[in-house]
Every structure is written in structure tokens, then in C-alpha cells.
């Protein structure tokens, strides 16, 4: 009963109002409409020497290992950095449980030429997941590669239930915002010897204003970034020998404005969630 009440409150009262009473009630994302499936908004890098790979799994057979393969499609939605919808691709779940998707190749077929973001929606054929009031969620494994830096991909998982697709085909952005600005202190120190690029997506219905403060020992620089809904933008830090190690503080109205971090080293790179 208690859980039902909690769920009702979460579904029907915006978090920003609940926050006025107690921060314990804060939920960083919304509960989607019934019978929806959820995806992260994954950064897509296909420009210059970058490529993005997605490890697509057969959720149905992983959730129901006793069952045979059923004919199911997965839908990939591609968005420009401006948030504009660009293209959709249906992929049929193959006989193996896993397909490695080369997104540069898929984007080339679709006429998508620029970096942006994408979402991956599975069909939910497992009613027992609905019975637990849960939603299928694609939280990825994305492998980024750069042909200047050898054959290895840097893998990272999704970590935000950013967007939902209902059974009626309606999309819903799930990010919650507050009345008040929130700070997120990146729990990673930027090394003066390397370049970094921090990617932010906007999982809300309004343009998201972000301030990125890079704090050095005795100084700081602040960059302002506006990201349209469904869009993506980045903060670039170039290595400057005179500066020392720096700390990143991100200010926005998102409860958790956590970037995907690309760390570029002399002969390699690393991608991780901040």
C-alpha cells in the first residue's frame, strides 16, 4: 500500500513541488506512461575519426531464457545536437542474442552526418515485467572508437532513463527539474596533461541552461551552455600546461546533470560517466 501511494505521488505530483516539502521525495526522472519502454539518450559521435558502436541485445530472450526467439523489432531514433528528430531505423532482433551495430554505417544509410544523440527502444513482450510496475529500459553498452587511436573501443553504459516510447508511439522526455539551481561536482579531477570533452544531453521539455565552472587552484572559468530538448552539447577542455589540475562544477536545474566524459590522452582515450 505504501509503495502504491509513493508511486501515485511520483506519477501525479511534479518532483519540484515535492522537493518543497522534503528532498527525500526527489525523483530525478519521471515515471513514464503505462506500457512504455525507456531508453537513455546516448551521445552519438560519428564526425571526423570517431565512430559509435552499440551492443544490441535480445531483451526478450534474456528475460525469458526458456522461450524461443520471437520476431521483434527494435527502434533507433536519431536526433541532431539541436534536438531535432532526424531519422528512425527498425532493426529486427537477429538469431544470435547480440548484434554489434556500427552506427556510422547506419547513419550513413539514413543520411545522418553529424554528431547528436540516439535512443533505442525495445518491444516489451514480457508482461511479468509490467506486473512488477517496472519498465523495460535500454541502458546500453556503447563503444566509442577513433581510428587514429587503434582498434580498441572505450565502452560505457547508459545511466539515465531519459526518454520513453509509449505503445501508442508517443515519445516522452523523462528528466525532472527543480525550481532551484543545483550543483553537480564532477567526481573526477581533470589532468592538466590531457584534453577532455564533457557531453550533456537534455532529457527535459524545456531548453536546459547549464553553467560549467572549471576551477583551478587560484582561478576559475565559467562557460554557459543552452541545450534544446532532446539535444546534446559539450564543454571542451584543452590541456594548458600553465594551469594545474582542475575541478568541474556543473550548475543547472536538473537534479543530476551528469556528463559523459571523453578523456583524450597522447595515444589513447577513455570514456566514462562523470
Amino acid at each position: 500500500m505504501k509503495n502504491l501511494i509513493k508511486t501515485w505521488i511520483k506519477k501525479n505530483i511534479p518532483t519540484k513541488f515535492i522537493e518543497l516539502i522534503s528532498i527525500k521525495g526527489i525523483s530525478i526522472t519521471k515515471i513514464p506512461h503505462e506500457a512504455s519502454v525507456i531508453s537513455d539518450l546516448f551521445p552519438l559521435r560519428i564526425e571526423e575519426d570517431w565512430n559509435t558502436h552499440f551492443e544490441l541485445l535480445d531483451f526478450h530472450r534474456m528475460l525469458n531464457p526458456n522461450e524461443e526467439r520471437v520476431s521483434l523489432n527494435v527502434e533507433l531514433f536519431f536526433y541532431a545536437a539541436s534536438g531535432q528528430f532526424l531519422a528512425k531505423k527498425y532493426i529486427e532482433i537477429s538469431s544470435p542474442l547480440k548484434q554489434s551495430l556500427d552506427l556510422k554505417m547506419i547513419c550513413s544509410e539514413l543520411g545522418v552526418k553529424e554528431d547528436g544523440c540516439f535512443a533505442v527502444f525495445h518491444q516489451n513482450n514480457s508482461s511479468w515485467v509490467d506486473d512488477q510496475n517496472s519498465f523495460l529500459a535500454e541502458r546500453g553498452y556503447i563503444g566509442y572508437s577513433n581510428k587514429r587511436m587503434g582498434p580498441i573501443k572505450s565502452y560505457v553504459h547508459g545511466n539515465l532513463d531519459a526518454i520513453a516510447l509509449s505503445s501508442m508511439g508517443k515519445l516522452q522526455l523523462l528528466g525532472n527539474t527543480s525550481f532551484f539551481s543545483k550543483k553537480y561536482n564532477l567526481q573526477h579531477i581533470l589532468d592538466k596533461n590531457f584534453d577532455y570533452e564533457l557531453f550533456f544531453v537534455n532529457p527535459t521539455l524545456k531548453t536546459l541552461a547549464i553553467e560549467v565552472e572549471e576551477k583551478f587552484e587560484n582561478s576559475a572559468v565559467v562557460a554557459s551552455i543552452d541545450i534544446p530538448p532532446n539535444g546534446i552539447s559539450s564543454y571542451k577542455k584543452r590541456h594548458v600546461k600553465k594551469n594545474n589540475y582542475s575541478q568541474i562544477i556543473i550548475k543547472s536545474k536538473l537534479y543530476l546533470c551528469r556528463p559523459l566524459v571523453f578523456k583524450i590522452m597522447p595515444t589513447s582515450f577513455d570514456v566514462f560517466h562523470g
Binding site: K98, Q132, A137, Y141, I189, S268, D270
Partner: protein, 265 residues
């Protein structure tokens, strides 16, 4: 949050950067200087050593090799770093509880990583002691090909300092074919080479451990040793959000545990 892991691998050197600042500005916390302790197991007791003090707002990187040197040891299977205000006894029967209120959105984390030559890889991590009666089911979808050495790293910490043994069973998820079972120990980082199993690009290995839980990682090292890749593999709960997702996880685990049967050797 309780501990920050510092581990090593056969080829790459481990490091862990601790941060004495909270991840957000809206959950309550008490900002204060924190003493850093290293804790490791000798198989019978947890051995503790005070390292230094981190001032408010500061970060510090601890290297596995440096801690070994401080402790005058040649090898430690896993070092746990902990922020404390009160001192610890030199030897403990159980891992100590934590003394600070930590943030949850997200968890207060360290930068946990490995370096090799000029390459580094890291994730934002922490570890809480796992209950001794727990199990693991995970799929590894990002084994890499073309001149990459792949490993599964399995990291476990439990309250008891005993090095408890268990087996990780490895299967093809599509055919359910049993491939191998590998002995692992608690309170360690266990490194399992994967290349010799010959998993193909469209094959999805599944790993189960019926008597121990832990954090599994896919770790890749390019054969020219110029680049590393590290990410944890998901627990089954990650397939679902909201509602009773741990019931979903339980159901998935139950089905796979019943289907996957090792061939006794």
C-alpha cells in the same frame, strides 16, 4: 557508500583518486577534513593503516604500488580506502561501518582506474560489502576483437576477512553451453582472461556465481599496450526501471540459474 577500492591487475597498475567534496549541493552533508585509511585482508583479519588527511574540497590519488611500499608488502589482493574521523585498531574481525552521511544522488564516488604506459582507464566507483549469501548473474556484451586482450575482473568485499572460495561458471547464453568454471575468492579482485574461450562477435557470454556476489568488469588491453578500456557489466536489474525492479532481477536470475548447468569435471 562505505569503501573505495584500489586494485591491481597483472599488466596494468591500479590507482584510486579520492575526493573530499560531495557530488551535489542539495543533499545534507557535513564538510570536514577526513582521515584516509587503507584496509586489507590477510585472510584472517582486516589489517588497517592510517594514510593521511584530505582537506575539504581536495582530491588525492593513491597508487597501488605506493600503498604496498608503505605497508612493506609484495602483494595485496584488494585495498579498501575509507574516510574516517575515529581511528581504527590495527586488526579487525569485521570491516568497520562508515562514519559520515554520504550522498546518494549519485553515490559519493572515487575515480577507480588502471594505467599502463601512457594509457589510463577509470570508472566512478565505490564498493559496499556484499552479503555472504548472495549470487551473481551477468552478461558481458562488450568483449573486443582485433588485437585486444579481454578480461573479466570480479571484485568482491565481504564483512569477514576470510578469503572464501567460489566458482564463476561461464556459458554461451544462446546455446547454454557450459564453457568453464573458474575459482574466485572473496575480498579480492579476481582476473579471468577471456580470449582463449574464443567468443565470437555475435556471441554473448553469461557468467554466474551461485555462492558469491561482486562487481564484474569487462577490461580490455590493446596488444600494443597503448590503450585500455574498463566498464562494469550490468546486473539483471538494469533491464528494468521503477516498480519492483529487484523482483524482476530475482525472476531473471531464477530462470537462468535453473537452465545453466555445469558439466562436472
Amino acid at each position: 557508500m562505505a569503501f573505495f577500492p584500489l586494485a591491481n591487475s597483472a599488466k596494468a597498475d591500479g590507482y584510486c583518486t579520492l575526493h573530499n567534496y560531495p557530488p551535489n549541493d542539495w543533499e545534507p552533508t557535513k564538510n570536514c577534513a577526513k582521515t584516509v585509511w587503507a584496509i586489507y585482508s590477510n585472510g584472517q583479519k582486516w589489517i588497517t593503516k592510517e594514510l593521511d588527511v584530505l582537506e575539504v574540497g581536495s582530491s588525492k590519488t593513491y597508487f597501488y604500488a605506493d600503498i604496498l611500499s608503505v605497508l612493506a608488502l609484495n602483494y595485496i589482493p584488494l585495498i579498501l580506502l575509507q574516510f574516517r574521523k575515529s581511528p581504527l585498531q590495527k586488526e579487525l574481525e569485521e570491516l568497520p561501518g562508515h562514519e559520515f552521511t554520504y550522498h546518494k544522488v549519485p553515490e559519493w564516488r572515487a575515480t577507480v582506474g588502471f594505467s599502463l604506459n601512457q594509457a589510463q582507464t577509470s570508472y566512478q566507483g565505490e564498493i559496499n560489502p556484499f552479503p555472504s549469501k548472495a549470487s551473481l548473474l551477468t552478461f558481458h556484451p562488450f568483449i573486443q576483437y582485433n588485437e585486444i586482450d579481454n578480461y573479466l575482473l570480479f571484485m568482491n568485499a565481504e564483512k569477514s576477512p576470510v578469503f572464501r572460495s567460489a566458482y564463476i561458471e561461464i556459458y554461451h547464453s544462446l546455446t547454454k553451453k557450459f564453457m568453464d568454471k573458474v575459482a574466485v575468492k572473496s575480498n579480492q579482485i579476481n582476473e579471468i582472461p577471456l580470449n582463449h574461450y574464443g567468443f565470437k562477435e555475435d556471441q554473448l557470454p553469461v557468467f554466474i556465481c551461485r555462492t558469491m556476489a561482486g562487481i564484474p568488469f569487462g577490461f580490455g588491453i590493446s596488444k600494443d599496450e597503448k590503450m585500455l578500456s574498463l566498464e562494469h557489466t550490468h546486473p539483471p536489474a538494469s533491464f528494468a526501471v521503477h516498480g519492483n525492479r529487484f523482483a524482476v532481477q530475482g525472476q531473471i536470475k531464477k530462470q537462468w540459474f535453473n537452465i545453466l548447468k555445469p558439466i562436472s569435471s
